[in-house]
């Protein structure tokens, strides 16, 4: 009986286990395949619409914008050539059409305006003085209707100089508010906040038109900001201690209008509210941290819940701003001088997407190039996944390797993005060996706008692997050592012996400027060793006496931390260039990334500057760092489209020396007056190229040099360890 009972128990456990596992398995496989809305992106230009002649010059800055169901309103403020302060309001029909100038005001003192749009598409303006106290100043309330006619223009003499932070128009008039806080404590010993509410009845007798009442806010809760809803109510955002729980309080006629609305959005570090439309009472852009794109939420009045509407980055743009959702479901949002519309569509009608696996490009010029491309390409979008965001510090390729590990794992599993863009270079050798990269030469040769000759001489050849071009960099920089001709004489390169002779001949001068740290020298050394000390064909490494001398030299220099400490303590009074100019030091290390940057050198040293390069046995101590390399992977189904995107990158602006010849020559021509331009161009032609910063070799070098700098081993031992460990690594790779 006992045995029977045991058997029964065992069977029951087995059954439960089986069912649980089966349920888990099938549940996991099934997933929640919730249908996802698709959007198509379109852009509308909102740049300043008037010709300069009509406005008497001045730099126009967009200072405000609003979106309603049918229009976008923009406000520009600028100073004319005759020092007149101008305020202009324009209205643009959504979807295209000519902008209309609704209101323009010139003043000597610089008035300021609070503005709002009501549910009838009336634009309300409240003129308030901002530049200083002016006893003659009269506040003005203006209403402009949907046709562009001014339907109300009333001076408000009784309020004097009322500075407000909120304007709440409705059919009965307009309300103002200003939020303040008081140090006074209430009964619960909490700081008491209140806001001042002023209601203005348009058309009423002047002495009765305006009433002003101080109104207590929620007890002890601070009003953070507020804005007008389209129904004339005020929405006040109030402070809470719970970071995830947001609370807004609605007011009508200065009194709370119903309960506070509280909703939860996890890790919402920043929220920007805008008036709602349709079923949404208000919209709110939510960001969680610097690396997560903003999402648009709306408070649904039907469900009384906050709901996510869209993450615009999913559809090609990362921008947030004044926004509305139109009756047809279209999301309209202002981004600087542009308006973008996300129109709901079927999956088939949505733009095709090419994915780009990237490293260290988030928020930089490459990301901007992607968004620029998406703007002009309605049928094809590039979507970036930046794996550096997985690193803890999110900055450096060498700081951690979670991002690289994730990317590597993805690549190894065959889960390739369509394109790759790595700021420090793509490991082309291993990826090409796997057959993961596409040779770009055929695309370059077939292109009618770009060809092999379109690139700076030697740049493409420097990026070749076995005669194939798997990556193209969009820019490059030059790393070199600079000296003053008057001090070091007319040398054009530097060997280690030459360097030691010079330092011995100038005992009163420091060898390097204060900015040239041991880290800078080791960085140079790391880069240089890829070219000088490693033979990737034979696998033989040759870290020898020169490297030992370089490390000994580096040890004499301060570390980056020491320089920062000196700077903090105010011990650094001159910059490196000034030290070089004044003969305090012999050399200064520098990275030159544009011809424009040479202007600074010229201003400091005239034509007395020499670019001698780092001490090198090969008599060429200048390094060319290729930046932001792009590749197309074999997983890309539409390689021609990917190439077209790459073309737009190569032909577009860059923060570095451009790799395309036309842009390079243009940059050179723009800096033609500078005597160093030709010299730098010549150095670029002959510099040693670093196509990929091999993080493994860098790590080996850094570990060993660090141990040497800390006195744990001699320079000879450090170099021997580098030689042994790097040889092992290189032999693995060939």
């Amino acid at each position: 009986m006992n045995r029977m009972k045991k058997m029964h128990t065992v069977k029951t456990i087995a059954l439960v286990l089986t069912l649980t596992l089966a349920a888990g398995l099938f549940g996991g496989c099934g997933g929640d395949a919730a249908a996802r809305d698709h959007y198509r992106l379109a852009w509308q230009d909102l740049s300043y619409p008037l010709a300069d002649g009509a406005t008497d010059g001045g730099e126009k800055s967009l200072c405000d914008s609003f979106v309603s169901e049918n229009f976008v309103y923009t406000a520009y403020q600028y100073l004319t050539g005759v020092d007149l302060h101008v305020f202009e309001f324009f209205r643009y029909p959504i979807g295209g059409g000519d902008p209309v100038l609704l209101y323009r005001e010139e003043s000597d003192v610089g008035n300021s305006f609070a503005a709002a749009v009501d549910g009838e598409d009336n634009l309300w303006l409240y003129r308030q003085y901002s530049a200083g106290w002016d006893p003659q100043f009269v506040p003005l309330l203006i209403r402009i209707d949907a046709k562009g006619d001014i339907t109300l223009s009333e001076e408000l003499p009784s309020v004097g100089n009322l500075w407000i932070t909120g304007l709440f128009p409705d059919e009965n008039g307009v309300a103002f508010y200003r939020s303040e806080w008081s140090e006074a404590l209430n009964a619960e010993q909490m700081t008491r906040y209140y806001f001042s509410y002023a209601a203005y009845q348009a058309g009423a007798a002047a002495d009765e038109a305006l009433t002003e009442t101080p109104v207590d806010s929620l007890s002890g809760v601070q009003i953070l900001d507020g804005f007008s809803l389209h129904d004339g109510r005020m929405l006040m955002r109030v402070g809470t201690h719970d970071i995830d729980r947001q609370t807004v309080q609605l007011y009508r006629d200065g009194a709370p209008d119903g309960d506070a609305i509280t909703f939860t959005i996890e890790n919402a570090s920043q929220l920007n509210y805008y008036p709602g439309s349709g079923r949404y009472l208000f919209f709110v852009w939510v960001s969680t941290d610097w690396k997560t794109p903003e999402r648009l939420y709306g408070y649904n009045t039907q469900t009384e819940q906050i709901e996510k509407i869209v993450c615009p980055l999913d559809w090609g743009v990362p921008f947030s701003g004044p926004v509305t959702v139109r009756e047809n479901g279209e999301i309209v949002c202002v981004d600087k001088d542009d308006l973008y519309r996300l129109t709901p569509c079927t999956a088939q009608d949505a733009a095709a997407v090419l994915t780009m696996g990237a490293y260290n490009v988030w928020g930089g010029p490459i990301a901007q190039r992607v968004y620029d491309f998406n703007k002009t390409s309605p049928d094809l979008h590039i979507r970036i996944t930046d794996y550096s965001l997985l690193e803890e510090d999110g900055v450096s390729l060498f700081a951690g390797n979670e991002g690289m590990l994730k990317l590597s794992t993805m690549l190894m599993s065959g889960d390739l993005p369509d394109m790759l863009c790595l700021a420090e270079g793509i490991p082309t050798a291993s990826l090409a060996r796997q057959g993961a990269l596409v040779d770009l030469y055929p695309y370059l040769d077939a292109d009618d706008q770009l060809g092999r000759d379109s690139f700076v001489e030697g740049i493409l050849e420097k990026q070749e692997t076995d005669g194939k071009l798997y990556q193209i960099a969009s820019g490059f920089s030059l790393s070199t050592l600079m000296a003053k001709r008057q001090t070091v004489g007319g040398i054009d390169h530097l060997t280690m012996d030459g360097f030691q002779e010079l330092t011995a001949a100038h005992p009163d001068q420091k060898p390097f400027s204060v900015e040239t740290t041991r880290d800078a020298l080791v960085n140079y050394f790391s880069g240089s060793c890829f070219v000088d000390c490693v033979n990737w064909e034979t696998g033989v490494c040759s870290f020898g006496a020169d490297v030992t001398e370089l490390l000994k030299l580096a040890k004499t220099l301060p570390s980056m931390e020491q320089v920062l400490q000196m700077s903090y303590e105010g011990k650094i009074t001159k910059g490196g260039m000034e030290e070089l100019r004044d003969g305090d030091c012999l050399f200064m290390a520098g990275e030159i990334d544009s011809f424009q940057s040479l202007q600074v050198f010229y201003e400091q040293l005239g034509d007395d500057l020499l670019f001698v390069g780092f001490p090198s046995a090969s008599q060429n101590g200048n390094l060319l760092h290729l930046e932001n390399s792009f590749a197309i992977t074999t997983a890309c189904a539409d390689r021609q489209a990917a190439w077209e995107f790459l073309r737009s990158v190569f032909c577009g602006p860059t923060n570095w020396f451009p790799t395309t010849r036309a842009l390079f020559e243009q940059a050179k021509a723009d800096a033609a007056g500078n005597p160093y331009t030709e010299q730098i161009a010549e150095l670029i032609r002959n510099a040693k190229p670093i196509t990929t910063y091999d993080p493994q070799i860098v790590q080996i070098i850094q570990t060993e040099t660090d141990a040497f700098f800390k006195g744990k081993q001699s320079a000879e031992d450090a170099v021997a360890a580098i030689q042994e460990r790097t040889s092992l690594y290189v032999q693995e790779q060939i």
Binding site: M7, V10, K11, I13, A14, L15, L17, T18, L21, S408, L411, M412, S413, G414, L416, P427, S430, L431, R433, Q434, G435, A436, G539, T634, A635, Q696, I700, T703, K712, Q713, D717, A721, E724, R725, T726, L728, Y729, Q731, E732, Q733, I734
Partner: protein
């Protein structure tokens, strides 16, 4: 007779449903485990086998032995194989021999026997990272061992970056594994029938002959098991070396698992899989030989 048959039949029919019910329960209990083994061992090994004979993850063209040929020509792989063999050749016999000696020593009536046992077993409980930390303190150039040598007027040695590095790792391996092996031997020693040993003594065998001809014969299955276990553990010494000196230690500490780990990092899946398959084959052959040996040598003892 007829009656008996009918009864047998009755017994059979009574047993069958019960057997099938038991079998059903057994399968129900077994299948999660089978699924796990298939999912995490059989299928991945199949995938690795496939990748080892194809040219890339993406194109998947069969290149058959090319990856193995490239692997054998790879100098780093050669270094790793030699180092692994050297280490295994040193560490495994020492681990087996010393743990057997310890077990025999602790079998004797010595004071503080249980304390010794605890001391030898305690390294099993220490996490690898902590062991490595202790080892770093001991064998660093400025570590305790060199300090001790300094007091004795001897020159310190850079233990982890000189010819001594392998010795240090062997010591670490022994320190970590001796205790467990010792326990296995102690269990085996206690299972040897005392009457057989006593009979050997009565027959005039000395201690040595009784050990060699009787006790060791009984210990053979355990010896082989400990060898297999030590062999497996010797391949896992990568963890300790990796924590001590990273992905690229000096030439003499670069093991097979370093090679494979580094191949993963440099996205060379083909080379990684070829090395894994080769290692699995070699280990399989070695284990098969050991098992055959065990069966042959332990046969008469079992009988």
């Amino acid at each position: 007779m007829m009656h008996t048959r009918t009864r047998e039949k009755e017994v059979d029919t009574a047993k069958r449903p019960r057997l099938s019910r038991d079998r059903l329960a057994a399968y129900a209990l077994l299948w999660p485990s089978l699924l796990g083994v298939a999912l995490f061992f059989v299928v991945p090994f199949g995938v690795i086998l496939y990748y080892s004979v194809t040219d890339s993850v993406f194109s998947g063209n069969f290149v058959f032995w090319d990856n193995f040929a490239a692997l054998i020509q790879n100098k780093a792989f050669g270094i790793a194989v030699v180092n692994t063999l050297e280490f295994t050749g040193m560490a495994v016999p020492l681990a087996v021999g010393l743990s057997l000696l310890l077990a025999l020593a602790l079998e004797a009536r010595i004071p503080g026997k249980s304390k010794f046992r605890t001391v030898f077993l305690s390294p099993i409980m220490v996490p690898v990272a902590s062991i490595v930390l202790v080892w770093q303190i001991l064998f660093h150039q400025n570590g305790s061992v060199n300090q001790l040598l300094g007091w004795l007027g001897l020159q310190g040695v850079d233990w982890l970056r000189s010819g001594w590095d392998k010795v240090v790792i062997v010591l670490l391996f022994l320190w970590k594994n001796l205790g467990y092996n010792m326990v296995l031997f102690m269990a085996a020693l206690s299972n040897i029938p005392s009457e057989v040993v006593e009979a050997a003594y009565i027959d005039g065998a000395g201690k040595w002959r009784a050990f060699w001809y009787v006790r060791l014969r009984y210990l053979l299955p355990t010896v082989l098991f400990v060898i297999i276990l030590s062999l497996a553990n010797s391949f896992k010494v990568f963890r300790e070396i990796y924590l001590l000196s990273g992905s690229y230690p000096g030439n003499s500490l670069y093991m097979l698992q370093h090679f494979m780990n580094n191949m993963f990092r440099s996205l060379n899946l083909q080379m990684l899989c070829a090395a894994a398959v080769l290692m699995a084959v070699v280990l399989g052959v070695v284990l098969a030989i050991l098992l055959v040996l065990e069966r042959r040598l332990g046969k008469d003892v079992e009988e």
